[in-house]
């Protein structure tokens, strides 16, 4: 039983068909990737899965539950956490505070705990603080814990977004082009981090343009073109697939050097 099942997902915008009958099975504890030329519908697929946009047809099944069309916060509560193509941090908060927000789902405490901090509430806050720092340590950002997120260089902002997502204890992590804007060393660090995350038990579904990264870390790859699924399989299979090469028509060559 796969963790995430997409059944015949179709998404239309007026006359434009962004996703056409896409069916996909994403297994647990694996790193799956979705690739395809620009405009193939990859981010739209993420938006449908994560609840930002309802599909025109089809179903999204997460962990045997139909989550089609549910709001993003409900889907996040089930353990499906996404990041965004353009990094969406809480720019005015510190790095540490950003990560602490990620713990929201797995902590308690409402207005009463805020105004009259009981011993239990204070203990919870201390725990959140410690766990947040630990996560930052794992992803290498702990020295910047008190830095305001807005001033971080782009690569570290990306890293922070992923760290924050991890704080929410996802069963499936949806990463939208995490390597975009990163240089080579940063991408290598990212690759290592991604493999560590999967080894720790969290499944990842990745959208990416960086072919070498995808080929290096993915267990399974699905290829979209013009909203349709044109191929899926292991990295080796995809590399040889005629339809995929035709769809990219040379851009894959450039990445493969």
């Amino acid at each position: 039983m796969s963790l995430l099942s997409l059944e015949s997902i179709t998404r239309r915008f007026g006359g434009l068909v962004a996703l056409d009958n896409v069916s996909l099975e994403i297994p647990a504890q694996r790193l799956s990737a979705v690739i395809g030329p620009n405009g193939a519908g990859k981010t739209t697929l993420f938006n449908v899965i994560a609840g930002s946009a309802p599909p025109s047809a089809g179903r999204v099944i997460f962990d045997s539950e139909d989550i089609t069309g549910q709001p993003p916060e409900a889907i996040a509560r089930r353990g499906l956490i996404r990041t965004f193509q353009l990094v969406q941090l809480f720019e005015g908060l510190t790095v540490l505070e950003n990560v602490k927000v990620g713990f929201h789902l797995h902590t308690q405490g409402g207005l009463l705990a805020a105004i009259l901090p009981t011993r239990a509430a204070r203990a919870e806050e201390a725990r959140v603080d410690a766990q947040a720092r630990e996560l930052l340590n794992e992803t290498g950002l702990v020295t910047h814990a008190e830095t305001i997120a807005a001033v971080l260089p782009y690569g570290q902002k990306r890293l922070l977004e992923i760290t924050r997502a991890l704080a929410a204890r996802p069963r499936l992590l949806l990463l939208d082009e995490p390597a975009a804007g990163l240089n080579r060393p940063e991408t290598d660090l990212l690759a290592a981090l991604l493999r560590r995350i999967v080894d720790n038990g969290t499944a990842i579904l990745l959208i990416e343009h960086d072919m070498s990264l995808v080929m290096e870390v993915a267990d399974e790859i699905a290829v979209l073109d013009f909203g349709r699924l044109i191929a899926k399989g292991s990295p080796a299979e995809i590399r040889r697939n005629r339809a995929v090469i035709a769809a990219y028509l040379g851009s894959a060559e450039a990445e493969h050097a």
Binding site: F84, L89, L93, E97, G102, H104, R122, E125
Partner: protein, 324 residues
């Protein structure tokens, strides 16, 4: 470590904040000692501290906009006034009724209003404030319209009421201290982080499981509660209420204090309220000039120091650079 001790420790660690608090404490001490007219001004400042602290939770922490919080002050104020003066209730239950009324109204209009953004949100909240003002004016069977209600009993419980000016000041100090401390508590807490997240990026907040709509409503209701309490305190402190008290001037005044003190800071509302209350003291006799000064001051602040007191270090270094 987010205990209350740490919150104070943070203030102590920041020399500028420490200096301001010391100044404030000294000033309050002086007013207690000297008495007289300043006591009334400080009472006004402390009542507005409560109002602006609540507004700060909604606008500063949660990043929303409201031009209509005078509505909740009016609901609180008029409930207190009518129930105590006309029906002989005790102040505390009367204020509680006002508080419940404000929370109910905030809840009812919250969902449709908070779906709006930008100038739509601003105008919807303005409309709410104006509607309540109109009701205060037109429902004269209860509110006595423009004439208002006078002879409102001072704050008190049972046979003890606080009649001296200094006594009222003490009560207001306690209430505003509680308001500031609870706002600080909120800022450091899980719900505070949810508010700030909603302000930072609604999409990202929702992707982390935060029900942004619910938290915006919570922030709205919290700020409505503070406003209601401020309104109730006002009518008991002054002994009189009329629609003008809760009119558009209150909105502009509250915004000026909020911006001067520093939007989104915890202590900002207090500093802003005290500074702005003290400013036109010399113009007190000329009510017309007072509003003119507020308007002009607000424009200047928005232009040159939009982060209020927090802009001071920047302005200072700019000034020094130009003088050098």
């Amino acid at each position: 470590m987010n205990s209350r001790i740490t919150i104070w420790a943070d203030f102590l660690a920041n020399p500028a904040a420490l200096a301001l608090w010391a100044l404030t404490a000294a000033f309050i001490g002086y007013v207690f000692f000297a008495g007289g007219y300043l006591v009334t001004v400080l009472q006004f400042a402390l009542i507005y501290t409560v109002l602006v602290t609540g507004l700060n939770v909604f606008m500063g922490f949660t990043g929303q906009v409201s031009f209509g919080h005078n509505a909740f002050a009016a609901i609180g104020g008029y409930s207190s006034a009518v129930l105590t003066a006309t029906y002989g209730w005790e102040p505390l239950p009367a204020g509680l009724v006002g508080l419940c009324g404000s929370l109910a109204v905030a809840f009812l209009i919250g969902y449709p209003v908070l779906r709006l953004r930008g100038h739509y949100l601003a105008m919807a909240t303005l409309a709410v404030g104006l509607i309540v003002y109109e009701i205060a004016v037109q429902w004269d069977a209860v509110t006595h319209g423009y004439m208002g209600i006078s002879g409102i009993a001072p704050i008190g419980i049972g046979p003890w009421s606080v009649t001296s000016d200094r006594g009222v000041l003490a009560v207001l100090l306690v209430v505003s201290a509680f308001a500031l401390l609870s706002a600080a508590g909120i800022r450091r807490s899980r719900i505070g982080r949810a508010f700030l997240a909603a302000a930072g990026s609604e999409d990202a907040a929702r992707a982390l499981g935060i029900d942004v709509a619910r938290y915006k409503l919570l922030a709205f209701m919290i700020s409505a509660a503070y406003a209601s309490i401020a309104g109730s305190l006002f009518v008991h402190a002054v002994g009189f209420v009329s629609p003008e008290v809760f009119g558009l001037a209150m909105v502009v005044l509250a915004f000026t204090m909020l911006y001067v003190g520093g939007l989104g800071t915890v202590a900002g509302p207090a500093f802003g309220a005290i500074i702005i209350s003290m400013l036109p003291e010399s113009f007190r006799a000329f009510k017309d000039y007072q509003d003119l000064a507020y308007g002009a001051a607000l424009i200047a602040i928005l232009m040159y120091a939009p982060r209020g007191l927090a802009s001071l270090p920047e302005l200072w270094s700019k000034f020094r650079r130009r003088a050098a």
